[in-house]
C-alpha cells in the first residue's frame, strides 16, 4: 500500500492592533452596535479616497521583523476585484506582487522536536465587512454590518513546509505567541483577530511534486486547525485509495459534524483582476525607518526562554510557563525588578498569580489584572517572605485579599504581621503547648516523630501565624530531645 505524506501550507490573517481602520479614522473596537463604526470612506461612498494608517504599517513591519522577514523599502497597493455585498467598493485594497515583507521563518516545536517553517510573504490588506443573514425578520433577508470593513490585517503566508496537523497547530500557536509579544495582534481567535486558511495536499512518500490541494477556509481555533487538517488528510487518502482524484476546491470545517465540506470548486473561482491601486502611492520606507522599528522590537519568546534558564537559572519548566505569554513574562520581569530573586518570584508568579488568573478563566480579564502595580505588590510580598519578615502563611493570606492600591509592606506594618523570631517570646508558648499535651509528647518520645507538625501547628495558631515556623521547629525538637 502506498504511504502518503501530507504537505500543508497556512495562510494566517492577523488583525493589527490599531485604534482605527486601515484607510480611514473609524474605530476598530470589537462588539459595537451594527454599522456604528462606519464613514463615507469605509462604506465606499462615491468620491471617497483611502488614506493610509501609518500605525498599521509600523505594526506590519514589526510582524515582518519579528518573523525574520526582509522588509521591502518599496511595496505596492493593489486592488483585488470581486463582487460581494460585504465588500463595499467592489474591490479589496491589498498587496499583491510587491508585498511589504518576504522570506522569514518560524521555529516550531512538536513533542520536543523542532522544525523550521519558512514564511513566504507577509502582506497588508483591509478586512471585508460581515453579512448577517436573518431568517426571522421579514423572512429570508440579508443585511451587512460594515463595522469590520476596512480593519487592517496582515496575511502571513507560509511555504508548504508543514508535514502534520500537530505541526500546523504548533505553528499557529507559536505565531500567535510571537504576534502577541510584538504587540502586533491581540490574537483573540473568538473575535476573529486571528484566523487561518490551510492548504492541504498529500503525496506518496519520496515524491517531490506537490499533489492537488484543497483549501480549508476560515479556521478560528488551534483545535479546529488540527482536527480539520487531520480529517482532510484522511479524506484525501481515502479518495486516492479508492481510485479517485482530489478535486482542487475550497472546503469548510463543520465544527458540529467534525468533517470538511466542499464550499466551492476552484473552477468557479474569481478572476480577481489585480492591478495597482491608482488612489494610493507606493509605500516607500526609508531604511532608517525600518531600522528604528527593529531597535524597538521586544525580546521574543525563544530568546527569553534561553535567558531565563541560563542567566536567571530557572528550570526549563518554569521558564516555559513564564514565557508562554508576553504579558506574563513582562509581569514576571516587573516583579523581578522589585525583588531580584528569580526563583522565588517565579514560584510566586506560577503558583499563586497564574493559579488565581486561571480561576478567572478569561484571557482579557487576566491581561487587565497583570498591571505594573500588581507586579510591584508581588515583588514586595516575595521580598517580605524571603527576608523572613513574614511567614509564607501570612504572605498567602495577604495575597488572597490584595486589592489595587494596597502595599504589602504597609499591611504588615499596620496589622503587626511581622514574623516573631525571638526565642524569648516563643519559648514560653512552646512550653505551654507541650504542657497541655502530655500524651502527644509521650507518643513523640516513643518514636512518633510526625507529631512534630502538630506541635508546630499549635504554636503557630497561638501566634496567629506570626511565629517563624523554622525557629519553632528547631526549638521544639531541642526541647523534646
Amino acid at each position: 500500500m502506498t504511504r502518503y505524506e501530507p504537505v500543508i501550507g497556512l495562510e494566517v490573517h492577523a488583525q493589527l492592533r490599531t485604534q482605527s481602520k486601515l484607510f480611514c479614522s473609524c474605530s476598530t473596537a470589537f462588539g459595537a452596535d451594527v454599522n456604528l463604526h462606519t464613514c463615507a470612506v469605509c462604506l465606499g461612498m462615491p468620491g471617497v479616497l483611502p488614506v493610509l494608517n501609518r500605525h498599521a504599517v509600523d505594526l506590519a513591519i514589526r510582524a515582518g521583523l519579528g518573523l525574520g522577514c526582509t522588509i521591502h523599502p518599496r511595496s505596492q497597493w493593489s486592488r483585488k476585484n470581486y463582487f460581494y455585498p460585504d465588500l463595499p467598493k467592489g474591490y479589496q485594497i491589498s498587496q499583491y506582487d510587491q508585498p511589504i515583507a518576504t522570506d522569514g521563518q518560524l521555529i516550531v516545536e512538536v513533542d520536543g522536536a523542532t522544525s523550521t517553517v519558512r514564511i513566504m510573504r507577509i502582506h497588508m490588506e483591509e478586512d471585508a465587512a460581515k453579512n448577517v443573514h436573518d431568517d426571522l425578520i421579514a423572512g429570508n433577508r440579508s443585511y451587512v454590518d460594515f463595522n469590520r470593513g476596512g480593519t487592517p490585517l496582515v496575511e502571513i503566508v507560509s511555504q508548504p513546509d508543514i508535514r502534520s496537523a500537530a505541526q500546523a497547530a504548533a505553528y499557529m500557536k507559536t505565531l500567535r505567541q510571537i504576534l502577541r509579544y510584538l504587540g502586533v495582534c491581540d490574537g483573540n481567535m473568538e473575535e476573529g483577530s486571528l484566523r487561518c486558511d490551510a492548504n492541504v495536499s498529500i503525496r506518496p512518500v519520496g515524491e517531490t511534486k506537490l499533489g492537488t490541494r484543497t483549501e480549508l477556509k476560515n479556521i478560528n481555533s488551534f483545535r479546529f486547525v488540527q482536527q480539520a487538517i487531520e480529517y482532510e488528510i484522511e479524506r484525501q487518502k481515502e479518495v486516492l485509495a479508492s481510485g479517485g482524484t482530489i478535486v482542487q476546491e475550497t472546503r469548510l470545517w463543520d465544527t458540529q459534524a467534525k468533517v470538511t465540506r466542499s464550499m466551492r470548486s476552484k473552477e468557479e473561482a474569481h478572476d480577481y483582476r489585480y492591478f495597482p491601486d491608482p488612489d494610493l502611492p507606493n509605500l516607500v520606507l526609508e531604511p532608517s525607518y525600518i531600522e528604528n522599528i527593529r531597535t524597538e522590537l521586544p525580546e521574543l519568546p525563544a530568546a527569553k526562554l534561553k535567558r531565563y534558564t541560563t542567566e536567571l537559572g530557572l528550570s526549563n519548566y518554569d521558564a516555559n510557563i513564564l514565557t508562554e505569554d508576553a504579558e506574563i513574562a513582562l509581569f514576571f520581569e516587573k516583579a523581578l525588578a522589585v525583588f531580584k530573586k528569580p526563583k522565588a518570584i517565579a514560584n510566586w508568579v506560577i503558583n499563586e498569580v497564574l493559579r488565581k488568573l486561571k480561576t478567572q478563566n478569561d484571557d482579557t480579564a487576566a491581561a487587565a489584572t497583570l498591571t505594573d502595580a500588581y507586579a510591584q505588590q508581588i515583588g514586595e510580598l516575595v521580598e517580605l517572605v524571603e527576608d523572613n519578615i513574614i511567614s509564607g502563611k501570612i504572605a498567602k493570606d495577604i495575597f488572597a485579599d490584595l486589592k489595587a492600591g494596597d502595599s504589602p509592606k504597609r499591611i504588615v506594618d499596620e496589622h503587626g504581621l511581622k514574623q516573631v523570631s525571638d526565642v524569648g517570646s516563643i519559648e514560653p508558648l512552646i512550653d505551654e503547648v507541650l504542657a497541655k499535651n502530655p500524651e502527644s509528647v509521650a507518643k513523640y518520645k516513643a518514636g512518633r516523630t510526625n507529631m512534630l507538625g502538630f506541635f508546630v501547628g499549635q504554636v503557630m495558631k497561638q501566634t496567629g501565624g506570626k511565629a517563624n515556623p523554622k525557629l519553632v521547629n528547631e526549638l521544639i525538637q531541642k526541647k523534646l530531645s
Binding site: A40, G47, L49, D279
Partner: protein
Amino acid sequence: MTKLYELTAHELAQKLAQNEISSIEATQACLERIEATNNLGAYLHVDSVGALALAKASDERRRANNTNGPLDGVPMALKDIFLTEGMPTTCGSKILAGFKPPYNGTVVQKLKDAGVVLLGKLNMDEFAMGSSNEYSGFTPARNPWDPERVPGGSSGGCAIAVAAGLAFATLGTDTGGSIRQPAALCGVVGLKPTYSRVSRFGVIAYASSLDQVGPLTKDVTDCAQVLQVIAGHDPHDSTSADVAVPDYTKDIEQGVSGLRLGIPKEYFAPGIDAQVRAAVEAAIKTYEQLGAKISEISLPHTDYAIAAYYLVATAEASSNLARYDGVRYGPRRDPGLGLNEMYDDTRSQFGSEVKRRIMLGTYALSAGYYDAYYGKAQKVRTLVQRDFANAFAQCDALITPTSPSPAFKLGENVSDPIKMYLADVFTVSVNMAGLPGISLPCGFTKDGLPIGIQLIAAPMAEALLLRTARAYEREHKWHLQRPAL
C-alpha cells in the same frame, strides 16, 4: 450694453466690491437665464432657494465688511460629478438617481468657504465617459452656438453654462480632455491642472490616475482666480501634491516675450479640420509677433497615446464603478431578488457607453490579458511622459489644437464609438503625462462655431500656462463673443 450675466467673474467681483450689484441680483440673473435656456439641458439640478440664501449671506458679509475673498458672492455651478452635501449628485447616471451625498467634496468645501454661491449641478456624460454629452443618463445637452450640435463632453454642461451666462464660472473634471474639449467647442476657457494639484476627494472617480478637477470660465483671469481657490494639498487625497500654491494672478499680464513655444508636428497631421488648422496657425503667428520663439518639436508616441489611454481609463473605471451595486445607496428596483439578480438588475441601469467601457476595462485587466493590454498601456504611458519631458527640455510650453474639429452634430458620432473616441485625440496625452493644459478660444468657423487652442506646460507650471494664455487673450477678443440665444 453688457448684460449682468455676461460679466466675467472678476468683473462681477469688482462690482460686488463697489456695491454696484448685490450677490442676490447676480444670482437672480443667472436663475432667470437658466430658466430661459432650459432647452440647452445644461443643468441637472438647480437649487434656487439654496443659492439665494447663500447670496443673501454673502451680501450680509459684505455689508459687515467681512468677505471671504474675491469669489465671495459669485454664482457658480458644478459638474454633477462633485459630491455636494444634501444636494442631488448623480454623475449623469440613473444608477445614482435620488442620491444625496452625506458630505462635501474638498473643492466644494473650498468654494463654500470662499463664499461662492452654488447654483446647482451641471449635465455631463454618464460617469464622465463621453466627448459629446450625448451619453448623459438623463438628457443630452446642446451647444449654445448651435443647438443642433453637441457642446462636447464630458463637462458639456459646464461649458454651456459659462458660454451662455448660466453661471459665472464652473468646475469640471478632465480625464482625457473633458474640460478642454467642451471649452473649445463652446468658446470658453478650460484648464486641466497638473495631476495632483487639485484634490479629487469627493469627486466621483472615473479613472483615478487620470482624473483632475479644473475650472471652465469666461476668461483667463477668472480661470486663475478659481484655480487659486481650489488648488492645494488635501490630506484626504493620498495622491494630492504637498506643494505650496503660488499666486496665479501675480505674473499673468507679463506676456510671452522670450518664451520658447513648441509646436508638436504630430498634432498637425491630416484629419484635422482645415478651419481649425488655420485658426491655430494664426494663433501661433500671434505668439510669434508677441515675441515668443516658435519651434517645431516632436512627440513621437502621440499615435499610441489614445489606444493606451482607453486601456488605462477603462481598466480603472471597471474597478471604480464596481461599488454601484445597489447594496448601500442608489435605486434598487426589486429587493425580493436573489443576490446575482439584484446585481444584474441594478447594474443594468448603466448606459451603453458605461457598459462598453466597463467591459473593455474588465477584459484589459483579466488574467492572461493584463500584460498584453494594461501592462503594455502603462509602458506606453511612460514613453508619452518621456516625450513631454524631452519637449520641455527645449521649450516652455506647447501649442496644439484642442479638438480636431469644431462642434459636431448631435447623433453624428454616436453610432461610431471609435470616431467619438478620436474627439479626444489632442487632449489625452496631457492626462497620460499628468501635465497641465488649457484651452482658450482662438477663432470661429465660417458657420460661427468656436475653435480652441490648447497650451500645455510642464508639471505645476500653471502660472506659466495662464500667463501664456492671457497674452493671447489680450490680443484677440474671441472670448468676448457671446452666443445669440
